[in-house]
């Protein structure tokens, strides 16, 4: 009998601990934001800066392989930007298109073919080989997207839109400079460069 009781005491009841552990696990899984698949995957260079990228009021310009992709945070801002752009370039978008656009990731096409990209499924978009937003001087849609998005953000959020440049580490400097020039032409002299994190002892 005595042997039996000592055997029972040897194992601790883990039930409560298990409960707590899974509760925390569930919490962290749910709060972790699912990573949105990027339309243009880039390898960001690392730096030692500590400040984080803002979560809202942000437009991201992703530069890689000579292409520029445009992404904007905030559903309402996106819808309004799309409406204004459609008006300017004479392209029609249905309400469903606008809704889909407000939820999708960044894009990199001419506005004329944006509709076909919106209608694709998310997995297809990454494979679609989008050519990048036109940014040459004759057809500078990137500048228009930026200008209209900034205006839309002021209308809706009453704040100046922050602009982040997310470049591929191997991207040559002239294409980065081209984007910076477009920004500066609009009087945006201050923006963020998105980088990864690097150890302190670099």
């Amino acid at each position: 009998m005595a042997v039996k009781t000592s055997k029972k005491a040897a194992s601790i009841d883990m039930t409560a601990m298990c409960d707590v552990a899974f509760l925390l696990l569930t919490f962290f899984i749910l709060t972790a934001t699912a990573k949105v698949p990027e339309a243009l995957p880039v390898d960001m260079p690392a730096s030692t800066v500590q400040s984080k990228l803002p979560e809202s009021n942000l437009a991201t310009l992703t530069i890689g392989k000579g292409k520029v992709f445009f992404d904007l945070k905030g559903k309402e801002v996106r819808v309004q930007t799309l409406e204004k752009m459609a008006e300017k370039y004479g392209v029609e978008f249905t309400d469903e298109d606008k809704k889909e656009f407000s939820l999708m990731e960044g894009f990199g096409v001419d506005i004329a073919s944006l509709k076909s990209i919106i209608e694709m499924k998310s997995a297809e978009r990454t494979k679609a080989n989008q050519p990048g937003v036109p940014k040459d001087s004759l057809n500078n849609q990137l500048a228009d997207w930026l200008r209209i998005a900034r205006q839309a953000n002021i209308d809706i959020n009453d704040k100046e839109l922050e602009i982040a440049i997310k470049g591929d580490a191997k991207e040559e400097y002239p294409s980065i400079r081209k984007v910076m020039d477009i920004l500066q032409d609009q009087g945006v002299n201050s923006f963020s460069l998105v980088t990864g994190l690097r150890g302190k002892d670099f």
């Binding site: 984080k52 580490a169 191997k170 400097y173 201050s190």
Partner: protein, 187 residues
């Protein structure tokens, strides 16, 4: 709680009942281990994977028709860093034709053992120079000139270096003089 319902089928053989009773408790240790491992993973990935943002302010773009950039800067305070292809980095201090003592064009590497040391040394000597002149607030000025062949990583690295060394004034300049182009291609 964690006991398995072994069923009270008392009608079976004696042996069978006993064996079932022995593992009536499930060992949760492994499960807890796993749960905490996953917690750790999710905690770290949620906080660490957020991209960082480096703030960059550029000066107002000047009108190409209006040329009034005749700001006199002491050449002893300026260091020019040229970024070339294949992670090449050349720096000189002062004017290219007449560099300051010890400031002739020289190639450096990125990082702790390369340009950082040079920047720190130069920062100190510039400070000493300015203090001697009675203006200790005039720190070093670094001019970064990325060439067409340099890549984005080079630019970020050198800007990061500016942040680490705490260079008071630095600027990205895009004009290359023919001599500077030759300097980058020559060596």
């Amino acid at each position: 709680m964690a006991e398995l319902n072994t069923g009270d089928g008392g009608g079976g053989k004696d042996k069978k009942v006993r064996s079932k009773k022995q593992n009536s408790k499930v060992d949760l240790t492994a499960m807890v281990d796993l749960a905490f491992l996953l917690i750790t993973f999710f905690m770290l990935t949620t906080t660490l994977s957020k991209p960082k943002a480096m703030e960059l302010g550029l000066p107002d773009k000047e009108d190409p028709n209006v040329k009034n950039q005749n700001i006199k800067v002491d050449e002893n305070r300026t260091m020019t860093i040229l970024l070339g292809d294949n992670n090449k980095l050349v720096r000189y201090v002062g004017l290219l034709a007449t560099p300051v003592a010890g400031g002739a064009p020289k190639e450096f590497t990125y990082g702790k053992d390369g340009i950082r040391k040079e920047l720190l040394d130069r920062k100190k000597s510039v400070l000493a120079y300015s203090t001697a002149k009675g203006k200790p607030k005039n720190g070093m000025i670094v001019i970064i000139k990325p060439s067409k062949k340099s890549n984005y990583r080079n630019l970020i690295d050198i800007l990061d270096e500016m942040g680490i060394v705490e260079v008071p004034t630095y600027a990205i300049v895009n004009d290359f003089s023919p001599e500077e182009t030759k300097l980058l291609e020559g060596k």
